[in-house]
């Protein structure tokens, strides 16, 4: 007589437990599916509270029957080890599975199956899903802001040129490698600034002048982030070194600078640059809005970068400093050739985090009236011809940012692994 203990599944009655388990599990899932999507309730004869929980109960019972230790079936063992180790785990797993079933089909419907992408006007959005026509029509604006359509090739050209200059650093012959850091910290910003000033801003060489108020969209996000990144890095390095210096004036002024910028929110800094800063300049001088914003964000991020680099400097063993000094290196030589290269390798994830935070902070420039992606989104949302499509806009902008930030964080993780020099 084979003993079957329903409360303790074992692999002696494998087929029985497997069939029982599958039966209950599928029953639970089907119950849930029919409740929500087919609008029929197969357990409606039960009182309301129990009725609500029947999918959960059935599925958990099913998983209970699956929980056979050492069943010998590889797939079953894998599943058990991962999601079915105890009743509590089984309940959680079932809840997650049910949530996925609940949320995924309507989401996919809205995103893809019922969505419209062909057409040019609001009337082309006939389905109940997302209206990607809206994104398609406004795509130029989201990318380039209010920049005149005919001149948008200038932005493309400039970006490609800057990328080319950045990539050129990888192809220099070895004897010029020493000058790479000089190239990146000094030459590249100057070249990019000249490119942007003459090509995107225009005004000479036959190119029409486009004021910075008209720049916008994703291209503006990149421009602001790029310049803030390039300038906040050397400034942050100087501040970090200053904070660790022995000269009291330098040390305390660095500390006050860093703590000040770290203690205030970016939005007040931007308010200050938009509203207060013009008062501090001589009468008649007018600094362009975009330059003011880039300066504000640079100073702000430099403080955070300084703290990150300081962490790296502190983590270096004293032996490095002593050894460099014993070779007769002065302060600057020691830092440039021995300390900073090692410290920077240590803090790559921290710096990548700061850069990521910078990119995620760029939408705040709407307070000074510059419209990057999120700002253009709000503008498009209010256009009378396209009311009611705010959700599509948010999904679009969210996706763009998500792709950028996620790729950057993965890249920084790769960098960290690549530069990991174990001591």
């Amino acid at each position: 007589m084979i003993k079957v203990n329903l409360l303790k599944p074992d692999n002696k009655n494998l087929s029985l437990f497997l069939s029982l388990g599958s039966l209950f599990f599928v029953l639970g899932i089907f119950d849930f599916y029919s409740n929500n999507f087919l609008n029929t309730n197969i357990t409606s004869f039960l009182p309301r509270i129990i009725n609500f929980f029947t999918p959960l109960i059935f599925s958990v019972i099913g998983l209970h029957f699956f929980r056979i230790e050492f069943s010998g079936v590889k797939i079953l063992d894998n599943i058990n080890k991962n999601i079915n180790t105890s009743n509590f785990n089984a309940v959680l797993s079932v809840i997650i599975i049910l949530l996925i079933i609940f949320a995924l089909p309507p989401l996919l419907n809205w995103l893809i199956f019922d969505a419209n992408i062909a057409g040019d006007t609001k009337e082309a959005c006939t389905g109940g899903g997302a209206c990607w026509v809206y994104i398609k029509v406004w795509f130029n604006r989201f990318m380039y802001g209010m920049y005149p359509n005919a001149e948008q090739w200038r932005i493309n050209v400039t970006f490609i040129a800057v990328l080319a200059f950045m990539a050129a650093g990888f192809f220099v012959p070895t004897r010029l490698r020493n000058y790479l850091s000089f190239y990146y910290t000094i030459l590249l910003p100057i070249i990019s600034f000249i490119l942007i000033y003459y090509i995107i801003s225009g005004g000479s060489f036959g190119l029409e002048w486009v004021e910075t108020g008209a720049w916008g969209g994703l291209s503006l996000t990149f421009i602001v982030s790029f310049f803030s990144l390039i300038f906040c890095f050397p400034l942050g390095m100087m501040l970090a070194l200053g904070r660790r210096s022995n000269l009291p004036v330098v040390k305390y002024s660095s500390i006050s600078f860093i703590e000040f910028w770290r203690g205030v929110p970016l939005i007040t800094v931007l308010f200050m640059s938009a509203v207060m800063f013009p008062m501090f300049l001589p009468d008649g001088t007018y600094v362009d809005k975009l330059i003011r914003v880039v300066v504000a964000i640079t100073l702000f991020e430099a403080a955070y970068t300084a703290e990150v680099i300081r962490g790296g400097l502190q983590a270096l063993p004293r032996g490095q400093y002593d050894a460099a000094k014993s070779l007769g290196m002065g302060y600057w030589k020691m830092h440039i050739f021995v300390i900073l290269p090692q410290a920077l390798k240590l803090v790559i994830p921290g710096i990548a985090n700061t850069f990521l935070a910078l990119i995620k902070d760029t939408p705040l420039i709407f307070v000074v009236g510059l419209l990057e992606v999120v700002g253009m989104l709000n503008l498009a949302k209010a256009n009378p011809k396209w009311l009611g499509f705010s959700m599509e806009g948010y999904v679009f902008a969210g996706t763009i940012f998500w792709i950028i930030c996620y790729s950057m964080s993965k890249y920084s993780q790769n960098l960290e692994l690549k530069y990991k020099t174990d001591r």
Binding site: G213, V275, P278, L281, D283, G284, N378, K381, L387
Partner: protein, 346 residues
């Protein structure tokens, strides 16, 4: 000793640069807005972020509106071409600081003329180009036809930092009604909040209500209540401290209004040069030396009338013909019963 020469030289260089910078700026103080404008070749005009009828940009980037026309009149007078204007859309928060900081030279953004704004923040109002009042907008299906039907607990949407916010409080207090103020920074957000049902009523200048209604999902579902709860004289603003520029802007607006008073418009302006009325002749520049008072040539007023039109023409093409406010109300010449009474240009 020579080791420190490098540091000493940088010290001296820094001091010299800063010194030169400050002396240079002291010298630059003497230039006026007019000189700058003529040097730049365009008038810098601050406008709203999109208010139909007052300052609104179309898809190609062309700005139209009665506020826009004020700036164009100044450009016609000072630079000879009404199209030499650069428009800067400003939010309510930065409009005054953009003016005081020098980012723009005229703020033509349907700004209410109040004492505190005139006296306290370094600005000067140079006239009224639209007499308006604050009102309320509600949904037609609410059945409300008068502000006396407002009940306790009503939620009202408006813009922050405006006279509207202050007047709204005075109004509800005087009626003893408790209300919930929901104030956003951007006009578009206010409209969206009211349209979606977050607020029961939307309050701002009645011209603004009429204009923003065109931006709602169903403009015909909303009505503007008849009561006017405050005076809102809207007009252009300039920086304090440049008296000649003030006068130029003031009289550019006055010329537009006086031209309509005397029946001069953009089509008949040239023919009016030989009119019998000496005031008309002064307005079209064929008599008198009015331009010299500002440092302009004598055709300044003729250019305004010909390129921008008189007040009535501006009103008609921007506000009446677009259906926003067909009835001119108080914005009519005083001889026809309105409030537009300007000092004579002589």
């Amino acid at each position: 000793m020579f080791k420190y020469l490098k540091q000493l030289t940088s010290l001296v260089a820094m001091v010299a640069v800063l010194f030169a910078f400050t002396t240079e700026t002291m010298a630059a103080k003497k230039s006026k807005t007019l000189k700058n404008t003529q040097k730049k070749g365009f008038v810098r005009c601050g406008v709203s972020q999109g208010l139909p009828g007052f300052s609104n940009a179309d898809a190609a980037g062309n700005w139209t509106g009665v506020d826009v026309d004020v700036c164009r009149a100044v450009a016609a007078a000072v630079l000879g071409d009404a199209n030499k204007v650069k428009f800067t859309p400003l939010s309510a928060k930065e409009r005054f600081t953009a003016l005081t900081s020098g980012e723009i030279d005229i703020l033509s953004r349907n700004t209410t003329w109040t004492l505190s704004r005139d006296a306290d923040i370094g600005l000067t109002f140079v006239g009224v180009n639209f007499y308006d009042g604050q009102g309320f907008m509600v949904r037609k299906d609410s059945g409300i036809t008068s502000t006396s039907q407002f009940k306790n607990g009503i939620s009202a949407c408006t813009n922050i930092g405006t006279t509207t916010e202050l007047n709204m409080r005075d109004f509800f207090n005087s009626k003893g009604i408790s209300y919930e103020p929901v104030a956003f920074e951007k006009a578009d957000e206010v409209v969206a909040a009211y349209d979606s049902g977050r607020c029961d009523t939307y309050t701002t200048d009645k011209s603004g209500l009429a204009a923003q209604r065109t931006k709602m999902t169903n403009p015909n579902d909303h009505i503007v209540l008849p009561e006017t709860i405050s005076k809102e004289p809207l007009g252009p603003v300039v920086r304090q401290g440049d008296a000649v520029w003030e006068d130029i802007v003031r009289w550019s607006l006055n010329v537009m209004i006086e031209a309509e008073e005397y029946g001069i418009n953009s089509t008949n302006a040239d023919s009016m040069k030989t009119s019998d009325n000496p005031q008309i002749k002064r307005l079209v520049g064929s008599e008198g030396e009015l331009g010299a008072a500002f440092g302009l040539d004598n055709d300044w007023s003729l250019r305004i009338i010909k390129q921008v039109g008189n007040y009535g023409e501006s009103y008609k093409r921007n506000i009446a013909d677009t259906g926003i406010l067909p009835d001119r109300g108080p914005n009519q010449i005083w001889t026809k019963g309105g409030l537009l009474y300007v000092p004579p240009a002589r």
